[in-house]
């Protein structure tokens, strides 16, 4: 049980990092990025490819972050004229193209079989300390980046992003370069998410193209919407609620004696229900964003 809890919290922590990255784009800046998982996939694959080529985990993570930021820059440029709905679908299209490439370019990514035997970071420590060390690393990362995001969000950059989200024309009038703001928001979100992707690859000892399915981005969006878009604490709450519900379903199935063929339906239905319920009755999320009112 202890083992299970440690791993659930570790995975939740990694998703929290990805969600924080999405929050920078979707929460603060109001950018509907539906291809966000591509950044995580890039981080994971960079780690996998680097390790396969013998360069080591750190360079893999670094390369992943750089490539993700480059992609983020391109996506931001793409959005020059696009309305938000269109831009969202464009990002989804880009993520799908990357996933198709990952599935097919066997020479680079191992194709659909992926890259396996990626060393987990603390294997030398022996059980259970390796799992706990990894958990400690992930929690530390979550703490550091959550505080950083909050700092950024409450600071000048964050306020500028919010202004761009609410009143873009006013922001332009006040001299903010909207394009640069957008690029910076997306690139920082991309970097954080790529780092999370690298951690994920190490944790699972495996990378595959299924990491970049569109449904994974929808998953992150679910966490954000339930917890509260635009609020760091909200993001963390959302992650806990969704991951908790997800992990709880098999136990509920055992407890209530449901047949296993509907367990898949139960899981999907539960998350969908929680999301819909929170949207209908608390549409800003469990922890709404605090927008300062001009009294």
């Amino acid at each position: 049980m202890f083992d299970f809890l440690i791993s659930s919290v570790t995975v939740a922590g990694i998703y929290a990092l990805m969600a924080l990255g999405l929050n920078l784009q979707a929460g603060y800046s109001g950018l509907l990025n539906f291809g966000h998982i591509a950044f995580a996939g890039i981080g994971a694959y960079a780690t996998g490819i680097a390790i396969q080529s013998g360069w080591g985990g750190f360079s893999g993570a670094a390369i992943g972050v750089c490539v993700a930021m480059a992609l983020g820059w391109c996506i931001a440029r793409l959005g020059r004229n696009l309305a938000s709905d269109y831009w969202g679908i464009a990002t989804l299209a880009i993520a799908e193209i990357l996933r198709t490439a990952a599935t097919n370019e066997v020479w680079l990514t191992g194709g659909a079989q992926g890259i396996s035997a990626i060393p987990s970071l603390f294997d030398g420590l022996g059980r259970p300390w390796n799992a706990m060390a990894f958990l400690a690393l992930v929690l530390l990362a979550v703490l550091v980046f959550a505080l950083a995001c909050r700092r950024v969000g409450n600071g000048r950059f964050g306020r500028a992003l919010r202004l761009m989200r609410e009143e873009p024309q006013l922001a332009a009038c006040m001299g903010y370069d909207l394009r640069s703001l957008k690029s910076r928001a997306i690139m920082s979100g991309a970097a954080l998410t790529a780092l999370a992707g690298s951690l994920y690859a190490h944790y699972m000892s495996f990378v595959g193209p299924d990491y970049m399915l569109a449904s994974e981005t929808f998953w992150l969006w679910t966490m954000l919407m339930i917890g509260g878009l635009g609020n760091t604490a909200g993001v963390l709450v959302g992650v806990v609620v969704v991951q908790g519900a997800y992990a709880l379903v098999p136990f509920a199935k055992d407890y209530f004696g449901f047949s296993s063929d509907i367990s898949g339906a139960l899981r999907l239905g539960l998350i969908g229900f929680i999301l819909l319920a929170s949207l209908m009755w608390r549409s800003q999320g469990l922890v709404p964003e605090k927008v300062r009112k001009i009294a």
Binding site: M1, F2, D3, F4, L5, S7, S8, V9, V11, T103, N104, V106, G111, A112, Q113, G114, S116, R127, M204, S205, F206, G208, D210, L213, A233, G234, V237, V240, V241, G244, A247, L248, P250, F251, D254, Y255, S260, D261, S263, G264, A265, R267, L268, L286, V287
Partner: protein, 371 residues
């Protein structure tokens, strides 16, 4: 701030209750675990295997259960992705504390999941994944099914013997299909044949006409294909409509590729299969399956899952224990010789891989029959 603390406490309480949830079943039933893809792209395979597992549970309980108690298999959904599968395996190993877990299907899921189980020392039985990396999983992993290298050798030899020299290869664009396509090409070219086109189709399309058009341009002697789910029905029908059936069609894993295709289209296809029905036990298994589920098996893997469950129950009885080390030792013992499942005699080599896994040459004539 207060609401945030409320939710934080709520979440902690949630996780806290999980740690004290009693696993009541452990006292009254003896369990093993299974991780199958009940949802996701390969749900057809997962659901079919689940049916076989449930049938096996019925059989074990009808034969008196395990260690005098009722026997059960806790089936968890892998969701078709490695994260959920790993989570499921973790639950089975560390919470339900089962001695053996069987699963999965896609090697992208089986490999990371089994690696975890081996690290934990929990027994793992592979029933459907054919990647050659399964050999190298580790000390507590057992394998019942023929891996790709053997399967592809068999198919290549069979197709060569049938007289085909220039073939087109059609397979799904996933771990299974890529492995089969690559492996078959290697084996077939070793014999001197040539794979003129390789088509890795993407599952979920509404039509495959343009893919089939592309393949037909190379005018192969025969089409070697493998497919499952509803796509195989679409592929077969459209191949028929486009006139491609004038050339022979050879299916790797015949009954899986034809499971949803109507008989009038399926007639005349040749193929091979992992041995699924051996002798009287096999026939009885098929009859029981038909009786319980009102339809036949849809994939080739069900027999292996059935055997895995029965063999584990036998091992538990033999070891007189549900301790994973003892059960694994008993499995090795059973695999020394003399154990016959519905897929045939099961003998393990030193690396717990099945020696001489069965394959069959088949054709479709109203239904799947041997050649």
């Amino acid at each position: 701030m207060t609401f945030k603390m409320h939710s934080f406490y709520a979440a902690t309480a949630l996780l806290g209750t999980l740690s004290v949830t009693p696993v009541v079943q452990a006292q009254e039933t003896v369990n093993m675990g299974a991780v199958l893809s009940l949802t996701g792209a390969n749900a057809t395979v997962g659901e079919d295997v689940r049916r076989a597992v449930m049938l096996a549970v019925d059989k074990v309980n009808a034969d008196g259960g395990v260690l005098g108690k009722k026997f059960g298999v806790i089936v968890e959904d892998s969701g078709g992705n490695p994260t959920t599968a790993l989570n499921a395996a973790r639950k089975l190993a560390s919470v339900d504390k089962v001695p053996v877990v069987i699963g999965e299907y896609s090697s992208g899921i089986t490999l990371p999941m089994a690696q975890y189980l081996v690290k934990e020392g929990v027994g793992h039985i592979n029933v459907a994944s054919t990647s050659t990396k399964v050999r190298e999983l580790g000390a507590s992993s057992f394998n019942l099914i023929g891996l790709e290298n053997l399967g592809n050798q068999f198919s290549a030899a069979d197709t060569w013997a049938l007289g085909y020299r220039k073939v087109a290869m059609i397979a799904p664009n996933n771990a299974y299909g890529q492995g089969v396509a690559h492996g078959f090409k290697q084996e077939f070219e070793k014999l001197g044949g040539k794979v003129v086109t390789e088509l890795l189709y993407t599952a979920g399309q509404s039509t495959y006409r343009r893919e089939l058009q592309q393949v037909s341009r190379s005018a192969p002697d025969a089409y070697i294909y493998t497919a499952y789910g509803q796509e195989s029905a679409v592929l077969n029908r459209e191949a028929y409509e486009l006139g491609l059936r004038k050339s022979p069609w050879y299916a790797i894993l015949l009954s899986m590729s034809l499971s949803d295709t109507p008989a009038n289209i399926a007639n005349g296809q040749l193929g091979m299969e992992v041995g699924n029905v051996y002798g009287d036990a096999g026939k009885a298994y098929q009859a029981a399956f038909n009786a319980k589920y009102k339809e036949g098996t849809k994939t080739s893997y069900t027999g292996y899952a059935y055997d895995a469950v029965l063999m584990t129950a036998a091992a538990m009885n033999k070891a007189k224990s549900t301790d994973t080390d003892k059960v694994q030792a008993a499995l090795k013992d059973l695999g020394k010789g003399g154990y016959v499942g519905v897929t045939g005699p099961i003998v393990f080599d030193a690396e717990r891989q099945r020696i001489d896994p069965p394959y069959a040459k088949l054709k479709y004539d109203g239904k799947v029959v041997p050649r």
